[in-house]
Symmetry: C3
Subunit: 268 residues, 3 copies
């Protein structure tokens, strides 16, 4: 455990020092809040979706996050293009399959993006990850109706089939490449009362995996950092409005040393 | 009055217990803030506008909110489609005609949505409601230039003509089905210094009318709850940034008992 | 210096008294936050981009802000149209060339908007302004990689060539029409950890130049006001989430008298 939290601290130190550019092709709901998450933690967000500039922006970026939370035809084209360009440019990218399983369009879009190029990391809630497995699942809206434990088999099989890292987040988080699995505990129930906290976790993963570490450990480190920020925030706020403000404050304030001593990452 | 506030408390209790899915086809400005309003109060928002998934998302939802705050051609098509699908699926829906009267496009779009299917509730400020009446009106931007009292006749005539519930919100709120009218007092002047507070009131109405109560009473209950949150927030904040944070906190913290004892709903 | 801060105070007084309508054709990331900035300071925002209503909305507005932060084909058309309509209607308008220099699309779009009609004010960070000068520059993402001093020559040459006012903001702000230059000090480093603070400065400029003052002085006044709000906020918050909340509070709370005594505007 010392190793994993030491790695987490080291990645946070690198992010703060290098201020990686994280390119987001993301949904309208969280554009502001995830940009603020990236800035608060020490990264540099750019939101851009025009097909005409996707290749150039990916070229500038240290990592990319593709999030399907609000879709329309032209956006889907940009996301699929973004996936392809990441592959060609060799940039790490995170797919957040928001609401996969809730509608055919979302499940199909997530699949198209994955077929265009395998994401470095796929992060979703239990229902979303189950929807992407061959066995499928049922999602109710964009909030999970399954527990993390329900989705572990799906996560393993997707990770193995695609050769990617899958992260299932919820009451605890599981990160797996199909062989090795890490479990992260932390976070707080108030995260469920603020929009886009899953999307926010994804952009933190995006920032962390830009630093070239092993993606299982990098993803686990990111989720431990995000969960810790939730815990810090919950010590200062007992309702969702104040909680989110304090969450941004914590993402800024948590030092690598804090993360090393307080991250809770263990082998599954 | 005990009856109305008792009903309000009961609906809030049901919302908290059942966590209704509220589907929003809404404007870019308030997507984040209204999702946060719904989550804070105990509902589950989904934002989706692609024509390809509107029918499925309406099918998942317990109610729908259509808000015309930022328009373009493809969005108007989705909104009109959403209206029709709500009718077919028998889902209650709220229309928020943001800026009706300010431009022909907005007045025409609101009319098209209404013609596609009669909304369960239309909620607007005085200028917007007057713009939808056959007599018309003048809106200056998206902020009201008329007082609630100016719009009562328009509200009654629209409600009677369409067989719907009309809510005019402002320094006090009036809810009418053309026969019966309820008046809600509360709220706070700082609501006028935060964007999308009218839109936020509309999504709270959406959550409340998902519970199957009489829509006049359900709408009045929602507006009393929202106004009370404004009053609670204003006790802890004296400027708009802090006020909105405390508003979200209050939407989370107000209990059914608080609402029963503090809601101010009366017959007109 | 008394003169400039006196002018600033007078413009703020006029804004608060007349509540100017500021029309924004802007990016998805900052639609909510810049609407809140305008409301908090006492103006009335409207966000609208449909080509069908641009002329009507410009007609209602006292000033217009065009911001290219998130582009797509149809939005670019609206922005170019907006620029033309401002010219025809004689409305002051601000161009915020977000990310100019980072991609060809952004540089070209900013150029197209300028060619459609000369903006009253162009406000950008050092990298963006340098990208618009004939000499060009390099931008890394949307955050500046150059210092304000690097961009002064570019600002002068653009201002002279176009007959416009150029504002370069950063660790200090420079406003010039190519002949006369004003320098504004203030602000706070935490502004760099919140998304859209440059965009927010642009909408404050939009509100200030709606009052008909000399645009160099009006722009300097707006930036002094915005920077002062940053300083006030930083006295009450030491991390980005809380800082932005206090920033909105300060934009609401700073009186014309406060601005007169605390603005720091001087000739270059």
């Amino acid at each position: 455990m010392a190793t994993y939290s030491g790695t987490a601290a080291e990645i946070l130190r690198q992010v703060r020092a290098s201020r990686p550019v994280v390119h987001n092709i993301t949904n309208y709901v969280v554009m502001n809040s995830t940009a603020n998450v990236l800035l608060a933690m020490g990264a540099s967000p750019i939101m851009a979706h025009a097909p005409e500039e996707v290749a150039e922006v990916v070229g500038l970026a240290n990592s990319v996050v593709i999030n399907i939370g609000t879709l329309s035809k032209s956006w889907i084209e940009s996301m699929v293009l973004g996936s392809r360009v990441c592959h060609i440019a060799g940039k790490p990218f995170v797919l957040d399959p928001v609401g996969a399983g809730a509608t055919k369009l979302r499940t199909r879009t997530a699949t198209q993006i994955i077929e265009a190029a395998t994401p470095t990391v796929i992060r979703g809630n239990a229902s979303e990850i189950m929807a992407l497995s061959p066995e499928g699942g049922i999602t109710r809206g964009v909030d999970a109706v399954h527990h993390v434990d329900d989705a572990c088999d799906a996560a393993h099989s997707i990770a193995r089939a695609l050769g990617t890292v899958v992260a299932v987040t919820g009451e605890r988080d599981v990160v797996t490449d199909g062989n090795r699995s890490l479990v992260i505990t932390g976070g707080h129930a108030l995260l469920g009362y603020v929009t886009g906290t899953g999307c926010a976790a994804s952009v933190v993963v995006g920032a962390f995996i830009s630093q070239g570490s092993d993606p299982v450990e990098g993803t686990a480190a990111a989720l431990a950092f995000f969960g810790l920020a939730g815990e810090w925030a919950a010590r200062e706020a007992d309702a969702p409005g104040s909680f989110w403000v304090k969450m941004l404050d914590a993402l800024y304030a948590i030092s690598p040393q804090d993360l090393e001593s307080q991250a809770r990452i263990q082998e599954a």
